[in-house]
């Protein structure tokens, strides 16, 4: 019985359990990940099962947590650390940028850091300030990091297993608002390789490119569009770095139209990169400019206003409508 209905939190928990069982060098630590099991319960029961040496609470200091992970990785472990919320990873920014990302390069590959930084990611949960940031651009822009964002519970399981096995540091972005969504997960499915996008829906008319929490939104938009006779495809990046250019470009070349969907503020973002690349590499296939539907360039709004900020199926369809369709 490997296929079962799990919430995303449970899928991630299962991935941690399976990885810890498979490999003794996997350790989990961070704030409240021990007896509490993490504020989202992703590490639920790990201390109980694997002991305090394998899953433990640290003092409250994110830079210290990232730094400890680097040192432990230098000495044979594969640490999986949790940053409690997206914005609370910022104190670790120097450790992540100046060391975690660069160590392998600066040592000519002699010191590899197989560290996974789990980040409860993005908004849509009515969280107060500092609890809903989308920070993937900071990491994606930093050479040396691998950046992964699952959109389904099956991918949450598979990609976390892959991330833990990965030889390089991985920033693992977990869409908070799906933690408690239940979906079918088959843990026996082969672990998907990092760096491979997936076409979630084929479509002839235009391609929606999305990742993480924006994938279900894009799919919802495509559903709606279908009722109006427009056939939209949806590509789920799964990995932001490495970016699976081939899959994305192939889809866009086929449809000639593209909308990039992402929840983060849009300026100098991952969405900018995707749009720029499509513009550069699909120039002669494009029937219309590439549009972006992203969060506004504002700090994440307070709970009562967040729905105005988040990409919605309607906003995506408006962008699709603007793709200079020839109605003749």
């Amino acid at each position: 019985m490997t296929a079962t209905k799990l919430t995303m939190a449970q899928a991630l928990n299962t991935a941690l359990r399976d990885a810890m069982t498979a490999d003794e060098s996997v350790v989990v630590f961070g704030e409240d990940v021990g007896p509490l099991g993490g504020v989202f319960r992703v590490t639920d029961g790990l201390t109980e099962t694997f002991g305090e040496q394998r899953c433990f609470d640290t003092p409250l200091a994110e830079s210290g947590i990232a730094g400890l992970a680097i040192g432990m990785a230098m000495n044979g472990f594969r640490p999986v650390i949790e940053m409690q919320f997206d914005a609370f990873a910022y104190p670790a920014f120097e450790q992540i940028t100046s060391h975690l990302a660069k160590m392998a390069n600066r040592t000519r590959g002699r010191v590899r850091l197989p560290v996974v930084v789990r980040v409860p990611y993005a908004g849509g949960i009515g969280g107060v300030e500092h609890h809903c940031d989308s920070s993937e651009a900071y990491y994606a822009h930093t050479p040396g990091l691998t950046v992964v964002a699952p959109a389904t519970n099956a991918d949450a399981y598979g990609l976390l297993r892959a991330a833990i096995e990965h030889p390089d540091p991985v920033i693992f972005l977990e869409p908070k608002r799906h933690y408690f969504t239940r979906e079918e997960v088959d843990t026996a499915t082969p672990v998907p390789p990092i760096g491979q996008a997936v076409v979630r829906r084929e479509g002839r008319d235009a391609t929606l490119v999305a990742y993480g929490p924006s994938v279900p939104v894009a799919l919802a938009a495509a559903e709606l569009a279908a009722t109006e006779g427009r056939d939209l495809g949806v590509v789920d990046l799964r990995s932001i770095v490495p970016f699976d250019e081939e899959t994305v470009l192939a889809q866009v070349r086929r449809t000639g139209r593209a909308v990039v969907v992402a929840e983060a503020q849009g300026f100098a973002s991952v969405a900018s990169e995707i749009a720029a690349r499509i513009g550069e590499r699909c120039f002669h296939h494009l029937e219309a400019p590439v549009r972006r539907v992203t969060g506004f360039d504002i700090p994440y709004p307070p709970p009562k206003l967040e729905r105005h900020h988040l990409p919605s199926p309607d906003r995506i369809l408006d962008a699709v409508d603007a793709l200079q369709w020839d109605e003749t």
Binding site: D32, G34, P59, E62, D297, P302, K304, H308
Partner: protein, 355 residues
């Protein structure tokens, strides 16, 4: 170095401790504090009830820590600054901020619902310890301007582990900034107990590493807190620099309503701490001293009830902040690069209304 012997002026049973360093505040003053404690407790209860009713998303209660909250507000003079955290709503209210405005953060209306400049109460800080360097900055600025403003900055036991705690204390010491750091050691950082946060003899012991005087105070004894904090405020105002204060207290509720404390602590521990409740103790003391009678108690309860009612009423309306505000405050000047986005939203909202 200050003496790190715990300062306590009133015992849990209400009797006076008899301390050779600090005098017990006058009964009239203590009665005032008692009023505030009852108000604070009622505020905590009301806010927690509002969470259950879905009027607030979340509330990190200071139940059990009201003495710290009340003392922090009480020792400050006009013009002094308070730097509270998410748990310090009661302190902000006691400092004069409108209770409903304080709660707008947690009702989801806006990030900071009050005007920090009006009462000199900084926005409640969520990222731990990050407010401490700001407190030092405000204090250092005051000093450069030749004002005798004092800044009281609050944080928790967990926050002492953050780098910003260290940098702030060191800056304050080197600049002799007029700041009082009050660490409310409530024994937990969410689920993580103090023993996993620090193995120092006390958190107050950290003062020595900065060359900063420090003190350890019974955090459930408002008399001790006001006495010791008051002295630190006077020293800071007089140009004698910062102080680190550790208040020995306890978080009676879970971290927030969303937390399940049974996963990491025993009820017995909570029961044990209930015996040291800050209200019970001061009530017993004032009762024994004859300054608090039934009538007075009724009056105090009633006035606390008014605060609660005000909060209930203020948060009962289905307020809906204006979406245009999303773009209004990001920059002071016009933000041409936000104009197109603001227009997009405005157009959507118009279309919504018309459909």
């Amino acid at each position: 170095m200050s003496e790190l012997r715990l300062v306590r002026l009133i015992e849990p049973d209400g009797s006076a401790s008899g301390d050779d360093r600090y005098a017990l505040p006058a009964p009239g003053e203590l009665l005032e504090h008692y009023r505030a404690l009852v108000r604070g407790r009622r505020f905590n209860e009301q806010a927690s009830a509002l969470v259950r009713q879905g009027r607030l998303a979340v509330y990190p209660s200071s139940h059990g820590q009201e003495a710290c909250q009340v003392a922090a507000a009480a020792v400050l003079r006009d013009g002094d600054w308070l730097f509270p955290t998410y748990r310090d709503s009661v302190a902000a209210v006691e400092r004069g901020v409108d209770p409903v405005e304080v709660m707008l953060l947690l009702s989801g209306d806006w990030h900071c619902g009050y005007d920090p400049m009006r009462h000199h109460v900084a926005p409640q800080a969520t990222p731990l310890a990050t407010q401490l360097p700001h407190a030092v900055g405000v204090a250092h600025a005051a000093r450069l301007k030749g004002e005798d403003t004092v800044v009281l900055a609050l944080c928790g036991d967990g926050a002492t582990s953050e780098g910003d705690f260290h940098e702030a204390l060191n800056f304050a010491a080197v600049f002799r900034a007029p700041v009082v750091f009050l660490v409310q050691n409530n024994k937990y950082a969410i689920s993580v107990p103090l023993a996993r946060q620090s193995v120092a003899s006390s958190l107050a012991a950290k003062g020595e590493g900065y060359g900063m005087p420090s003190a350890l105070v019974d955090g459930n004894d408002v008399a001790a807190l006001t006495a010791v904090l008051g002295e630190a405020v006077r020293r800071a105002a007089g140009g004698d620099g910062p102080t680190l204060m550790e208040a020995d207290t306890y978080r009676m509720d879970a971290h927030t309503n969303a937390d399940d404390a049974s996963r990491y602590r025993d009820d017995a521990e909570v029961t044990e701490w209930a015996r040291r409740d800050p209200l019970v103790r001061l009530r017993a003391h004032l009762r024994a001293a004859g300054v608090l009678d039934d009538e007075e108690e009724r009056a105090i309860a009633e006035s606390a009830e008014q605060t609660a009612a005000y909060l209930r009423t203020g948060l009962s309306a289905d307020s809906e902040p204006d979406p245009a505000e999303l773009f209004a405050h990001v920059y002071a000047g016009p933000a041409p690069h936000l104009a197109a986005q603001a227009e997009l939203l405005a157009a959507e909202l118009t279309a919504e209304v018309h459909s």
